[in-house]
């Protein structure tokens, strides 16, 4: 490989280095997003770690049971068409208060709602390959109250 190519490759590798950078501990949001311009949104929406935690909780809190293909509600969240709006605060509200029966506002802590929202808003950007990859990666995790083991 030419030196120029190596440099480009190196730059590409390093560019991803800050993708998961985050503060840990009390800096976490304890309040709802104040609107789509809330300055904290970037730290969640643009952060690979926060989005991936969001995916984890999405499965753990049983969202995938209704929002996966063929689920009982089968409300597709991946098409990018939001019935109740696609802004951060709007999706947050859809999750937290749009499911009165599940009472997510009280059952899910605020920081987790931030992470889940970031993940839900990330869904429309997923390619088919990425969806498959995530499915394989999360096979071993619980979906709501069912867990079938990693195999």
């Amino acid at each position: 490989m030419k030196p120029g190519g190596i440099l480009v490759l190196l730059a590409a590798c390093l560019a991803a280095c800050s993708n998961e950078a985050r503060t840990i501990g009390p800096a976490m949001p304890q309040t709802l997003p104040s609107g789509d311009a809330d300055p904290r949104i970037g730290a969640y929406q643009e952060n690979a770690y926060q989005v991936s935690q969001g995916r984890r909780y999405f499965a753990w809190y049983g969202c995938s049971q209704c929002h996966a293909e063929g689920g009982p509600a089968d409300r597709d969240l991946t098409d990018g068409k939001w019935r109740h709006g696609g802004g951060f605060a709007q999706v947050y509200a859809s999750v937290a208060s749009g499911h009165p029966e599940q009472d997510f506002v009280r059952r899910i802590a605020i920081e987790q709602l931030w992470q889940i929202t970031a993940y839900v808003r990330d869904l429309p950007t997923h390619t088919a390959e990425k969806r498959y990859r995530l499915l394989v990666d999360q096979k071993g995790e619980a979906q709501g109250s069912s867990w079938n083991g990693p195999q």
Binding site: I24, G25, M28, Q30, Q53, R56, A59, W60, Y61, G62, R106, R107, I108, A109, E111, Q112, D137, K139, G140, E141, A142, G144, S145, S146, W147, G149, P150, Q151
Partner: protein
């Protein structure tokens, strides 16, 4: 330094008899590996001494005249001796390692108690098979083993690669997503030991430990029978209140068998009060520690997937009281 060196040596050796040490074997597999280690140490030690002695010897002979033929003869003899030494050493090590491997797998054909252990970031799901059935008894972060019997652990991982390691009982083996690794454990000494994840698996890898108790078979059976039971009904009003709060806020991730709480994402808490530590060996179990963990899991184990859930003080107190009573 001179006076400090014995102290230093004691400090280093003090770690050798601990409850997490491969140098204090308490089981057949660990004993086998320990013997192999001693054999390798002896062979390598002898080689080291011979090399150093030859070096010193040749330095002392520096400058001494000798006729060329004599020197060549000496060199030839030396080369032969070295060759024989290498072949001998390597043969001893290969035979030793072959025998050790056979010993590690000696119990594989026999019946054994089956335990399925799944690594999660950053805790251990532990399930005991009920003899010959498809039913499993689930617990977490504390492994009990009957002394003198072989337990076969079936290892898997739910997320990234972890590694199962109880050095006093056996060697370590990786837990790989999508793969089932198997390890036989035949402990010979009762007591508490410590297991630790042996493969870096993320921020709280160091806090991914577990307690291991080797006990007499009768004691073990009694423990397993207790674990298989539903949670004890709560007797007092504070406990009832705690149970209600738990069902509302914690049941998405935690199960307490015999109640409505049936989440599977986090550790099973049916008998959490009987465990020795909290959050995979992070803190010692007590009523206060439970409340501290519930209030601030992110402070005790930053990055853990257990969320900090704001609870009113009376609710937090009731939940901790309830969990401590789940024995």
């Amino acid at each position: 330094m001179n006076r400090a060196s014995p102290l230093l040596a004691i400090g280093l050796l003090a770690a050798c008899s601990g409850r997490q040490s491969p140098l204090a074997p308490a089981g057949d597999q660990a004993e086998t590996l320990h013997q192999l280690f001693l054999l390798a140490l002896a062979v390598c030690g002898i080689v080291y001494l011979v090399v150093v002695a030859a070096l010193v010897w040749s330095l002392m002979r520096r400058g001494r005249d000798e006729d060329r033929d004599g020197a060549m003869r000496g060199l030839n003899r030396g080369l032969w001796a070295t060759g024989i030494g290498i072949v001998l050493g390597v043969t001893i090590l290969i035979v030793g390692s072959f025998l050790a491997d056979r010993a590690l797998f000696a119990t594989r054909g026999e019946d054994a108690l089956e335990v399925r252990i799944t690594g999660h970031q950053w805790w251990w799901r532990i399930e005991y098979r009920v003899g010959g059935t498809a039913r499993w008894i689930e617990t977490a972060n504390e492994l009990h083993l009957p002394r003198g019997r072989t337990t076969r652990v079936l290892l898997g991982s739910a997320d990234v690669i972890h590694s199962f390691w109880v050095p006093n009982v056996a060697g370590k083996i990786d837990m790989i997503p999508g793969r089932r690794n198997v390890l036989d454990l035949t402990p010979r000494q009762s007591g508490w030991f410590r297991g630790q994840c042996g493969e870096y698996c993320g921020m709280q890898h160091a806090h991914m430990a577990f307690d291991v108790k080797v006990e007499e078979p009768a004691q073990f059976e009694a423990w397993l029978a207790r674990q298989s039971r539903m949670a004890r009904p709560v007797g007092d009003s504070r406990g009832m209140h705690g149970q209600a709060v738990f069902a509302r806020t914690c049941s998405a991730c935690h199960a307490v068998r015999g109640t409505t709480a049936s989440g599977r994402a986090g550790p099973d808490l049916t008998h959490v009060g009987a465990r020795r530590s909290i959050a995979a060996g992070t803190i010692t179990m007590s009523r206060g520690a439970l409340q501290g963990w519930i209030a601030q899991p992110q402070a005790l184990k930053p990055g853990t997937s257990m969320p900090a859930i704001p609870l009113a003080p009376a609710d937090a107190d009731a939940v901790a009281h309830y969990l401590a009573g789940l024995r």
